[in-house]
Symmetry: C2
Subunit: 457 residues, 2 copies
């Protein structure tokens, strides 16, 4: 008897749960159909890429993008749209950048290069010196001042192709670009050339931030294309020393005012509980910032549009946030956190899409174990839409500061195989994005946002 | 006590199983590293696409591809490489194909069109008639002879964008291309125009086989681009009737001899037990057949190469088979089955890759339940390489005939979102393939083949 009494409520519980999941799946299908059939994310992305183009913080284009996406949010049906000011760094590439390797006294091999983000310019005469190749910091330290002073350090650290996650490879190999300029300056180098952080071998240099250290001089730093890095490494194995010269005209100007762009659907039942869904509006200056992170921007707008178009008033407030200055400062993210603190806002969840508009595979969950377990109970709802990985993991650098006020976070994980072919390079253009992949990512984001708006975390 | 006695062997059993999975995962890592670091599939594909190009059955290029891939298999280290003859249809597109819609008495809208595979030509004068749009066969049947005779039927059946699996959408919408010509001819139509089977809207027509019915006349049949289909449908809603004219010069010539290309690694322990891994070598004539199915071809070769390079002699014989004539006849597949029957070969497993070289997500398992369960026990081995779906499902049309002799089958399921943007169209070129995605597919194929070679099914 005891057993039977237990069984009945358990069965009831299961069938209630299964009923809930079933009605959820019907509503989710409605959202998904709205995006897959009528979605405008792809056309919004075309506009951002082709009508505006590169959107580096502080640029005229970044300001154009602020106004354009505010309009997109209004068109999507957000009930409140506003701009949140933030001061951003204003780094410019300048007009000239070039460089070469002297293969012998009268032959020059022209490099495909670009200045690294936030780096200083070389001055008119450029920097010249013997090339010293290193593949890690231990080698650099072994060479020390005796081996480095007056020379140009070539960080040749390829992304490890054996890693299935290209983000893992990027994280590891990225040490040269991120802190190579500071570490080389410590030993008196006059300049730094970094092998582009890319999965493929081609002629396009990939930019990205380099971080100086105030204890050492700021020296010019460039990325060279992976094909140049392969060539140079081979050349050095045949003939060493080789001299290089390069010039950059980049510089950091004074900070300027820019904005995060915010659009909300006010919650019907718990309007004070805020769910953030976002991507970053700023991009590097070399390309259209289509995958990085125009995709996340238009997907976040699409979440608002799809909920509205499907006639769903969420229980909690859903807020699309298009963050400024992720690439070379993170000031938009910081401003968003500060505003949240000041207004004592209640941030119950924040989701970021900053891994490209590729076919979705999962979400990284940066939250406590109970919350992770709750999300994992929704697994079967996500599965038909291509998301099967719901596991503890990183979220995204724009929502990350909200962790300070205890907000549970998540990041969309699209398939990562193609991302670093084009990341921060001139090839990150609209044509690299698949409409269906982009929209399927938005489907899963909208689903996640809606589930949290309905059930909390 | 009883409980304890049970516990010990169970624990032992688990730890043996876990030990086996662990040593398997080490070997699989070795295979994966070999492909991700040293893989040549991408360069082989470049050769097939750029040095040879389209490889329609019966063409000079198809024959070149036979010789080139036989060499690739030898270079990969296959211990036996041979050609298996088969007679194939020899359909040619001819030189001229064009058509237009008369928007009024002196204005013509030129269509982006191509003859459907295996279709007859129109003759010099082409076919002309009023356009009758239908979106399904029920509409066609309702119109009947009275509404169809002497006219050109326009099958405007879009792929359903709400389906997450584009193959499901293709299967459903494909009815117009596959049997529209026969069904329209039944009612006296003079020609057929089919909306291209594509997920996106652009100017490229997509070819593919149309199947005549011997009871009705063979009428010329073309695909028009999706952008033309959208335009025409809109135009017809404003002005009806509209007249169309089109000309095709395609024809079916006599069958010619061609070949399947086969390369083997002989099994060390059970050489008579054969595992087939394949793709199809023939392609449509409009493009380079990169995703369809150059990808499957070079992946199959890579399976052989990686096993050999990793120093693995499989227990069972692994055979890469590059099937001829999948696109418009399936004769290679049939020849392979007949040879297997004749030689009384023991085919214990066959795996096909014919869904493009996109990032892998799963395998469709066309086998009995016990075998499906066995494969599913390997799930955790596949998971780190991106494959999480191991479920009953379709395999591929080239291995399918082996089901007649009881062979368990599987098909690689890559992500399907981008496939029908380019499938059978001029856009199916080398540049559409991602090296990492292609190689990751090969990793999972090699892993599957190796597991079956080790443990059977």
């Amino acid at each position: 008897m005891m057993k039977k009494r237990l069984t009945v409520p358990l069965l009831l519980l299961f069938s209630v749960a299964s009923y809930a999941q079933n009605s959820d799946s019907i509503l989710i299908k409605k959202i998904a159909d709205e995006i897959l059939i009528n979605g405008v994310a792809y056309e919004n992305l075309r506009y951002l890429c082709k009508q505006i183009g590169p959107r580096l913080s502080g640029s005229v284009n970044a300001q154009k993008a602020v106004l354009a996406t505010a309009k997109m949010l209004r068109d999507a049906g957000a009930d409140t749209v506003y701009l949140q000011p933030c001061m951003v760094p204003h780094w410019i590439r300048g007009e000239k950048e070039s460089g070469y390797i002297e293969t012998n006294s009268n032959k020059k091999y022209q490099l495909h290069l670009c200045a690294l983000g936030n780096s200083v310019g070389s001055g008119k005469t450029g920097v010249k010196g013997e090339v010293v190749q290193v593949t890690n910091f231990a080698e650099l330290n072994r060479l020390g001042e005796a081996g480095i002073r007056g020379k140009i350090v070539f960080f040749n650290i390829p992304m490890n192709p054996a890693y299935v996650s290209t983000f893992q490879a990027y994280g590891e190999a990225g040490i040269g670009r991120r802190s190579g300029s500071a570490q080389a300056a410590r030993y008196g180098a006059v300049g730094v050339m970094v092998r582009s952080l890319a999965s493929n071998v081609d002629d396009y240099p990939h930019t990205g931030v380099t971080q100086y250290n105030d204890s050492f001089p700021k020296i010019p730093a460039v990325a060279i294309s992976t094909s140049d890095a392969e060539w140079l490494s081979k050349e050095l194995s045949k003939k060493n020393p080789l001299n290089a010269w390069f010039q950059t005209t980049s510089k950091m100007l004074d900070d300027v005012t820019s904005f995060n762009v915010i659009g909300e659907l006010r919650g019907e039942k718990y309007p004070a509980e805020i769910i953030t869904v976002g991507g970053h509006l700023g991009s590097w200056d070399l390309a259209e910032g289509a995958q990085d992170d125009g995709a996340g921007v238009v997907q976040s707008i699409e979440v608002i549009r799809a909920l509205k178009a499907a006639g769903i008033q969420p229980k909690r407030t859903v807020r699309a946030v298009l963050f400024m200055n992720e690439e070379n400062g993170g000031r938009g993210a910081e401003a968003y956190l500060q505003a949240a603190k000041q207004k004592k806002e209640q941030h119950i969840f924040a989701l970021e899409s900053d891994g490209g508009g590729f076919t979705p595979r999962g979400f990284g969950l940066e939250m406590n174990e109970i919350q992770v377990n709750k999300v994992q109970q929704w697994k079967s709802l996500f599965y038909p839409y291509g998301v099967y990985q719901l596991a503890a993991g990183g979220s995204g650098s724009d929502v990350k500061p909200l962790r300070q006020i205890g907000t549970p976070l998540a990041g969309l994980n699209p398939d990562s195989q193609r991302y670093f072919d084009l990341h921060h390079a001139a090839t990150d253009i609209f044509e690299s994005v698949s409409k269906r992949e982009l929209h399927l990512g938005a489907v899963n984001m909208a689903m996640f946002v809606w589930l949290v708006s309905e059930y909390g975390l």
